[in-house]
């Protein structure tokens, strides 16, 4: 199948749901995707199994400060420069583009990048959701070495980094990003289709599209969405308090939802760090990272980003299981509750729901 212009709104809605409150605004990415499809045609969506084992997959993501990317939008040639550098380094051109992070803007924008490069988009990503840090990707959890980062910026610079480990990868990439004006396009973990098996989260583009379509023309969007996700409905109620502060480049805070209707008398508190990470009710954890927790508008079932949470909104909090990769020992070390500073032992959301 191919991703067409008419698929973009559904894809954007689905990516917003998978963003678990973070991942950036899907609007600019959607505009870029629509424009690129108009200019270069629909983007074929390929499964990993369709690619030969030595085919090169380039995971791409935009990095930088949200305030900057909202003002200094990407240049159209940035993906092309990364693709050229990949070809120079590997001696053959890339075969497919992959989203590093399906949740939020980095889930939609790769459609534009793939269209510009005339490449298919791989039906997979590196998270199955959104995470705030560069090393929180499936390729890292699968043990692939973080030994290559390629970055391109609006000025036309291309920087190739050969870091010794993930920590240096993050440190150097961030320094380059700042020098580039706090916005850049990045490829890390360029990998062959063979190595990608088991190291990426497969089917997530299709999944985002299905999630987006579940609420399209639905008479009861919320029920359709929850069914599509296989989600636990943690609470339906009113947002009564949002407390946010920006520290170390991340938004941290809490959001309190008081139950209405059948949930009257209950109170759910969400812990936020860019994404929704932990949901607590009566001192009992009801869901925690890396499982997905998303706040949606009760009426429309549209996902609400953490920056968009406002007092008085009528919302429902949904939680559903993450990809099994994140539930492995290394997955939890990388992006479990302790990786975000919560002194909690991970318990899967489905067990918490039935416990």
């Amino acid at each position: 199948m191919s991703i067409r212009e008419t698929d973009i709104p559904a894809l954007a809605r689905g990516c917003a749901v998978l963003g678990t409150g973070g991942g950036g605004d899907v609007r600019a990415g959607s505009l870029a995707a629509v424009r690129a499809i108009r200019a270069y045609g629909p983007v074929p969506l390929v499964r990993l199994a369709e690619l030969p084992p030595d085919a090169l997959v380039v995971p791409l993501s935009g990095i930088g400060a949200p305030t900057v990317s909202h003002e200094m939008i990407h240049g159209e040639d940035e993906p092309k420069r990364i693709a050229e550098e990949v070809e120079r380094l590997f001696g053959r051109p890339p075969a497919a583009v992959m989203s590093s992070e399906i949740g939020g803007s980095n889930g939609v924008a790769p459609v534009a990048w793939a269209a510009q490069l005339g490449l298919p988009l791989l039906d997979a990503d590196g998270m199955g959701r959104a995470f705030p840090e560069v090393q929180m990707v499936s390729m890292y959890v699968a043990g692939l070495p973080a030994d290559l980062v390629i970055m391109s910026d609006v000025a036309g610079n291309v920087v190739t980094i050969r870091p010794v480990d993930g920590l240096w990868s993050e440190r150097l990439a961030r320094a380059v990003c700042v020098a580039a004006g706090s916005s850049a396009l990045m490829a890390d973990y360029v990998l062959t289709a063979g190595r990608a098996r088991g190291a990426v989260v497969e089917g997530t583009v299709t999944r985002a599209l299905e999630i987006g379509r579940a609420t399209e023309d639905a008479t009861d969007p919320l029920t359709s969405l929850a069914a599509e996700l296989g989600a636990v409905r943690l609470i339906t109620g009113k947002l009564t308090d949002v407390e946010r502060r920006t520290t170390g480049g991340f938004v941290r805070g809490t959001a309190t939802i008081e139950g209405t209707g059948d949930d009257r008398g209950r109170t759910l508190v969400l812990e936020l760090q860019n994404e929704n990470l932990v949901a607590v009710e009566d001192n009992q954890v009801r869901a925690m990272v890396p499982d997905l927790i998303t706040v949606v508008d009760t009426e429309t079932a549209a996902a609400i980003q953490t920056e968009g949470l406002r007092y008085g909104q009528r919302v429902t909090v949904l939680a559903w299981p993450c990809d099994p990769l994140w539930r492995t020992r290394k997955g939890l070390d990388t992006a479990g509750p302790r990786a975000f500073g919560y002194d909690l032992d991970y318990v899967p959301v489905e067990e918490l729901a039935h416990g």
Partner: protein, 515 residues
């Protein structure tokens, strides 16, 4: 000749055009309500004539100022009439080319407005470095190939560094003689939204000219030597010269005027305001006498902008809202209420009828439902109870759950609201509430605002001082008295992911008009 001690405020709304006259003691000494005409200007003249008649023949010389809040610009965009063709120039290449100008505009509007679009070298990084050198050659090549009435220029990070926009403006004015809208005068950070507002602004020059000449002519014909002003979206005023440059700022002045008028008439600076009309109720919040501004992006005619607009929650609750069973709305009989409502002998049950069934009426009015069954009366009362719950819910959303502030009810349908609403201390119904928006125009201040990024750290204090001075200077340029300008809003937001610590500063200054 008498001292010019009177002011006339006029508000052109969707349904009615209201006018009031205030004396030097800020007392309302004349008021009028006339239907808004299709061409807007006729209704304006009718309302103006009505208050002048009420004043009598000798008062003309006493009118010193006329303040107009109008929907001319909004209507022009919604109806796509009288819009100029705009050459859309973005300074930002090689950045920003992934999303070219007007990408998110509705096709019809884009065809009407755009004379052509180009992204050429220029603009700045967040830290003030140039993205590209400004290239006069590429600007000329673009403009030589288009036929435009005006040019809209938007440079990346111009709210922080406006040099390239200024240089481009200079070049275009001197070489092409075209009017130029520059984005740093119009919006804040957020390239696409600011660019959209700048293009709309450039498209509205002809409309602005029409409004200012119509107003000037209307005053001259009536022998009024008054100075005219236009109201803008934040409830403050601009001189006509200023409005001619920034016509897009007049969009959304109606809700702002009604909020400011409510504060003035009630004497309460911190309150929830409900402006109840025939079709809907607009709720807003007053803080220190000014409307609380919306944090969300504002759409005008399908175009997303980052305009600062009053935070308004509109609910389907109005005098003409249709009642079916015990359920009200969301549809309304609108202006046909005088024929259709039961109390006026019509055949449609409306919220006005439901209010009357519950014993609520405007002061001094004797509407009666006549003989109706107990069952029907009960149904109407349940409908108004459901509406009260809707209003209470909206109030709760707007007050963010902080109870204790009063609610000021204005507009022709204010009587629909109950005496007690959960979450507010009391319901105030000031005199002249039905023309609160025109009063708001008459008492408005002049203002100026700045939104920019400044380095944090040691230079922070100096940077903030510079922003404050710039905001005050812009208020004076808009007509404020330099001696009485005050900073009314100062917001500082630290930015993340940057090499040098930086803050985004938003400042707003306002003051009474120069005497």
């Amino acid at each position: 000749m008498a001292e010019p001690d009177l002011r006339i405020g006029i508000d052109v709304g969707g349904t009615n055009t209201d006018a009031v006259v205030l004396d030097s003691g800020d007392r309302v000494i004349a008021k009028a309500k006339r239907p808004t005409s299709r061409d807007v200007t006729e209704g304006l003249r009718a309302a103006l004539d009505a208050v002048l008649d009420e004043l009598g023949p000798h008062a003309h010389g006493r009118v010193g100022r006329v303040m107009l809040g109008t929907t001319h610009a909004t209507n022009a965009i919604l109806e796509r009439r009288n819009l100029g063709r705009v050459a859309v120039l973005r300074l930002g290449a090689p950045a920003t080319t992934a999303v070219p100008p007007l990408s998110d505009w509705p096709d019809g509007l884009r065809e009407v407005v755009s004379a052509g679009e180009a992204v050429v070298p220029g603009g700045h990084y967040v830290d003030g470095r140039e993205i590209g050198r400004l290239d006069p050659g590429s600007i000329r090549r673009f403009l030589d190939g288009v036929e435009a009435d005006a040019v809209a220029v938007t440079a990346v990070f111009s709210p922080a560094t406006a040099d390239h926009e200024r240089a481009a403006e200079e070049l275009i004015r001197s070489e092409y003689g075209l009017p130029v809208s520059v984005s740093h005068e119009i919006g804040s950070l957020g390239l696409l939204e600011r660019e959209n507002a700048t293009v709309l602004n450039a498209a509205l020059y002809e409309v602005a000219g029409h409004v200012t000449s119509a107003l000037t002519a209307a005053l001259a014909e009536r022998g009024l030597a008054a100075t005219p002003y236009l109201a803008q979206n934040d409830g403050t005023l601009m001189t006509l010269e200023h409005a001619a440059r920034l016509p897009v700022s007049t969009i959304g002045s109606g809700p702002a005027n009604s909020l400011r008028g409510a504060a003035f008439l009630s004497g309460v600076p911190d309150a929830v305001v409900a402006d109840v009309g025939g079709t809907s109720t607009d709720l807003g919040v007053l803080t220190g006498g000014f409307p609380r501004e919306s944090a969300a992006a504002v759409e005008i005619g399908g175009v997303l902008t980052n305009f600062r607009m009053p935070d308004i929650l509109a609910i389907a609750l109005g005098g003409g809202t249709v009642v079916r069973g015990a359920k009200a709305g969301p549809d309304s009989v609108g202006y046909r209420i005088a024929e259709e409502a039961l109390v006026f002998g019509g055949g449609t049950a409306t919220l006005t009828d439901a209010a009357v069934a519950a014993g609520r009426r405007p002061p001094g009015v004797t509407w009666d439902l006549g003989d109706i069954s107990e069952d029907f009366r009960d149904t109407l009362q349940r409908a108004i109870a459901a509406t009260d719950a809707l209003a209470a819910d909206a109030v709760d959303r707007m007050t963010l759950g902080r109870a204790g502030r009063p609610l000021v009810a204005v507009g022709g349908g204010a009587f629909l609201l109950p005496e007690r609403i959960p979450g507010v201390s009391r319901v105030i119904r000031p005199e002249h509430a039905e023309v609160a928006n025109a009063v708001g125009a008459a008492i408005a201040l002049a203002s100026g605002r700045v939104d920019t990024i400044m380095p944090a750290g040691e230079s922070r204090t100096k940077a903030i001082e510079r922003v404050r001075r710039e905001a005050a200077a812009r208020a004076v340029a808009a007509g404020a008295d330099p001696d009485r300008v005050q900073i009314v809003d100062l917001l500082e937001v630290p930015l993340s992911y940057l090499a040098e610590p930086a803050v985004r500063i938003h400042a707003k200054a306002a003051g009474p008009l120069t005497r």
